[in-house]
Amino acid sequence: MLLSVENINLKFGKRVILNNVSFKADSGKIIAITGKSGCGKTTLLGIVSGLLKPDSGKVLYKNKNILRWGDFRKSHFRNKEIGFVFQFFNLMPDMSSYQNIIFPALLRIFPRNVKKDINNLVEYLNIKDIINHHPETLSGGERQRVAIARAIINKPKMILADEPTGNLDNTTAEDIKNLFIKLKKEENMSLIIVTHDKRLVDIADEHLHLENGILKKTGRQKETKKVKAVKTVKKK
């Protein structure tokens, strides 16, 4: 199991945001998380990525509790192991789209040459025309695609995406959906997607719903995947 979130509890003040939340995510699987606005979806992703410490619980990544890690290891984890697509994009304002995308790749002392990868992504995400523009001149959808490109440039094991199709038109959203399927199949990535978009929920291997702090499995999952999921559970 790539990621195992166990018994997470979190309160903001007196308000319970997450109440004993547990779920698992594996490589080559897509998990969709839905829930009402303000219910704590972004907060949950924040905990999974090590940006926020819960009051109690464990986040096991490859069987190691990332909540216990020091800053150095966490930073490395965020750079190499996960890619985060933020709800509000969080692009560097003083960098062009290209620089934003390449930035995570430059963090290593001897960086991998990703120029070719960027070209492919740019082609695929159709952001060639705005590649040298700065974020403030981009539309919401364009920013979203740049943010997605940035999240996957380091070929992480896991993508955390917060409303990745929220600002996109139908065709582009469809492209993103296909990209996610491709990442799942070809790169064997694990994708945890917070979304209201039915299309993304439909491609998910597992659909989780967060309500009043409680995370529950819902909906129907694709037959084949269901069998596979059961298999892995049995194996364990």
């Binding site: 940006l51 150095f72 930073s75 490395h76 560097m92 304002p93 003083d94 963090l107 940035r150």
Partner: protein, 425 residues
């Protein structure tokens, strides 16, 4: 490989605006460091001046004997000048406590020095004092030939070379270097009594320049004491009157350092003022303390102003860029790297200013070391030397440290921004 260069350029560009900002805000370091350089070299020159001064430099077994109520050596006899009479000097010489006693002597005569250059005669009245040959023995290299001989050897202060050359320049004569002035023939005329009276007596002697010294601060010349004694004897023989020969100071070497306190007591009973190495050291260190405390005060003010301005500007950077810092962290920068980035950047800017401050300081020193003797010839014996590479190194280290320390707290703020709050904005 290509990509690494791309990375370096990328990071450099990313930091460029920040660096410009910190360069501007760190400008105060320039003053801090240049003042520091000036202070260091001023301190060095004062120390070496005090140490190198012919009459201030005492060995541990040596004492300096001055007339009562006098603190400094009065090389030039003025009305009311205090002195050690020859008789007292003789008493001291006879004391068993000492290995040797030498001094600086004066005579109640005026001295006119006359020299000829390219057919033109120059005359000048100058103060004169006498020094024993053996006194020079432990203090200069060229002491052997400083005897009562003809032509009479005279020692002149170094700044007189410039003075002479200035005179020459008025007559369009090219400047003459020190080495060529050694052995230059002069005529000395000692005179006493008012002009055109019966008391008026004059004595002429052939003399030559023996050497120049920069470790004596009298605006006159030095001749052998024995030579002054000779004039005094001659005058006495002819007139049965004293020539006013006396000592301005005596230097005595004791046989037994342990007995020094008793010896000093005995001399004090004779109505004399005694200084030992300890006193001189105290005097020097007192002067040094004044220089130090003043300079350290100025440095502290510069330091405070500079570090506040650096601190402030980095804090502004943190505030403006907090979003960017947190994003960098989310994308994989560690706290340490953010911290190090800040510190490194400020240290680099500091080092730059250390370098600039060093050269600015030296430029100021160069300017003033030329200007000061022009206005105050008596200070010409203090040579303010430019500082060397060790000071340069010190400057760079101090400057980097000041800059880095000032940036430390903002850097800690920057590395501790709450990441989750930052991404939700």
């Amino acid at each position: 490989m290509n990509f690494i260069i791309y990375k370096i350029l990328f990071i450099a560009k990313d930091n460029f605006t920040n660096i410009i900002r910190s360069v501007v805000s760190s400008f105060g370091i320039l003053f801090l460091i240049s003042f520091f350089v000036i202070y260091i070299s001023l301190r060095d020159s004062v120390t070496s001046y005090v140490k190198g001064n012919l009459f201030d430099n005492l060995a541990s077994d040596e004492i300096k004997i001055l007339p009562k109520n006098t603190k400094e050596i009065e090389f030039v006899k003025r009305p009311g000048s205090r002195a050690i009479p020859l008789s007292t000097a003789n008493t001291i010489r006879k004391m068993p406590d000492f290995i040797s006693v030498h001094g600086v002597s004066r005579i109640g005569f005026t001295l006119r020095v006359e020299g000829e250059m390219l057919g033109k005669t120059k005359r000048m009245y100058v103060p004169v004092c006498g020094v024993d040959r053996d006194f020079l023995k432990t203090r200069t290299n060229k002491w052997r030939s400083f005897t009562n001989r003809r032509p009479v050897p005279i020692i002149a202060p170094k700044f007189s070379i410039d003075m002479l050359n200035n005179y020459f320049a008025m007559d369009n004569i090219d400047p003459i270097p020190e080495s060529e002035l050694i052995g230059f023939p002069l005529t000395l005329t000692f005179a006493t009594g008012a002009r055109n009276t019966e008391e008026r007596k004059t004595y002429d002697f052939e003399a030559e320049v023996h050497s120049f010294t920069d470790v004596i601060n009298i605006p006159g010349v030095i001749v052998p004491t024995d030579f002054l004694k000779e004039i005094a004897q001659k005058y006495y023989a002819e007139n049965r009157k004293s020539a006013g020969m006396e000592y301005a100071v005596l230097f005595a070497k004791v046989k037994d350092v342990d007995k020094l306190p008793q010896t000093v007591e005995e001399l004090k009973k004779l109505g004399l003022n005694i200084q030992s190495q300890k006193d001189v050291t105290e005097k020097t260190s007192k002067a040094m303390r004044i220089i130090d405390s003043f300079s350290l005060g100025v440095i502290a003010i510069f330091f405070l102003l500079t570090s506040i301005s650096i601190f402030n500007s980095y804090l502004t950077i943190v505030y403006i860029r907090s979003k960017k810092f947190s994003l960098k962290r989310i994308l994989g920068y560690s706290k340490l790297r953010i911290l190090f980035g800040f510190i490194f950047e400020s240290a680099c800017v500091g080092a730059l200013y250390g370098l600039a401050g060093y050269f600015t300081g030296n430029m100021i020193i160069r300017y003033f070391s030329v200007k000061i003797p022009q206005f105050l010839p008596s200070l010409s014996s203090i040579t303010i030397a430019e500082s060397g590479t060790d000071t340069l190194f010190l400057c760079i280290v101090i400057s980097s440290a000041v800059s880095a320390v000032s940036a430390l707290i903002p850097a800690i703020f920057a590395s501790n921004i709450n990441l989750f709050k930052a991404v939700r904005r």
